[in-house]
């Protein structure tokens, strides 16, 4: 016997794919206004400075690791 609960479930199941292709892209945050604004600000002129600040410690640590490689190596 199919009751109202079953009808609601069917409607929800049918509506789910529609919601994914219809409403979600406009509101979901990869494309939302907040996300777009944040990404726009990341790619401004100071992106290079920020990247250099982020990567600098790793470059130094990589160089240290390279230097340590010679410990105990026979000539």
């Amino acid at each position: 016997v199919r009751g109202p609960a079953h009808a609601r479930l069917s409607a929800a199941a049918a509506g789910l794919p529609l919601s994914l292709v219809g409403v979600a892209p406009a509101l979901a945050c990869p494309r939302c206004a907040t996300g777009q604004e944040a990404r726009r600000q990341v790619w401004r002129d100071d992106f290079g400075d920020h990247l250099a600040m982020t990567v600098l410690p790793f470059l130094i640590l990589g160089a240290m690791s390279w230097r340590l490689h010679s410990i105990g190596r026979k000539p």
Binding site: A38, V42, F58, I60, L61, G72, R73, K74
Partner: protein, 178 residues
């Protein structure tokens, strides 16, 4: 065969320790405790745009820590194939600890003290938190260095531990090979 090229294992361990230390910092201090973000002193995350801005830079920071772990795994694999590299738990553990400590020291000096792009725990007493972070890094580095030094006694190459001299069965004796 005496394997003495300890540096190959140390180099791999330092890269891995640095990467894992970076992940520890990012996961615990950036995400779980939310004490700071990568650029949170330049752009305090007070609204959603600034929060997402910092989130993206945290992501780039994590991308570099991931790269360090990948490099460390590659170097560890290469070291494991060499007969002149001593396969020592003390050396490797020490190198991991040294890498983590060096990460805290270098990141702390550059990002916290010189550039000031973020602090460990911003606000009242932030200098003490930053100095504590540096102190922890120094302690880890010294402990790691001591472990590596004690690992000099280990001279058994990869693949030999747990094997009898003829290459078969198990070897119950110690692994120092002296």
């Amino acid at each position: 065969v005496r394997a003495t090229h300890q540096g190959a294992l140390v180099s791999a361990g330092v890269l891995l320790g640095c990467g894992l230390g970076g992940f520890f910092d990012g996961i615990l201090l950036h995400q779980i405790l939310q004490w700071h973000n990568m650029l949170s002193s330049l752009r305090p995350p007070l609204d959603l745009v600034d929060m997402k801005f910092n989130m993206l830079w945290d992501g780039l920071f994590h991308a570099f820590t991931w790269l360090m772990v990948c490099l460390g795994l590659w170097r560890l694999w290469v070291a494991g194939e060499r007969a002149d590299v001593p396969w020592s738990a003390r050396t490797f553990t020490g190198a991991l600890l040294l890498g983590w400590g060096l990460f805290n020291l270098v990141e702390g000096i550059i990002d916290h003290q010189l550039l000031g792009i973020h602090h460990v725990h911003p606000g009242q007493g932030e200098l003490l938190w930053d100095l504590g972070f540096l102190g922890l890094g120094a302690l880890q580095s010294v402990t790691g260095g001591l472990l590596i030094r004690s690992g000099r006694a280990d001279v058994v190459p990869p693949g030999s531990i747990g094997r009898a001299p003829d290459g078969r069965g198990s070897l119950a004796a110690g692994r120092s090979g002296r």
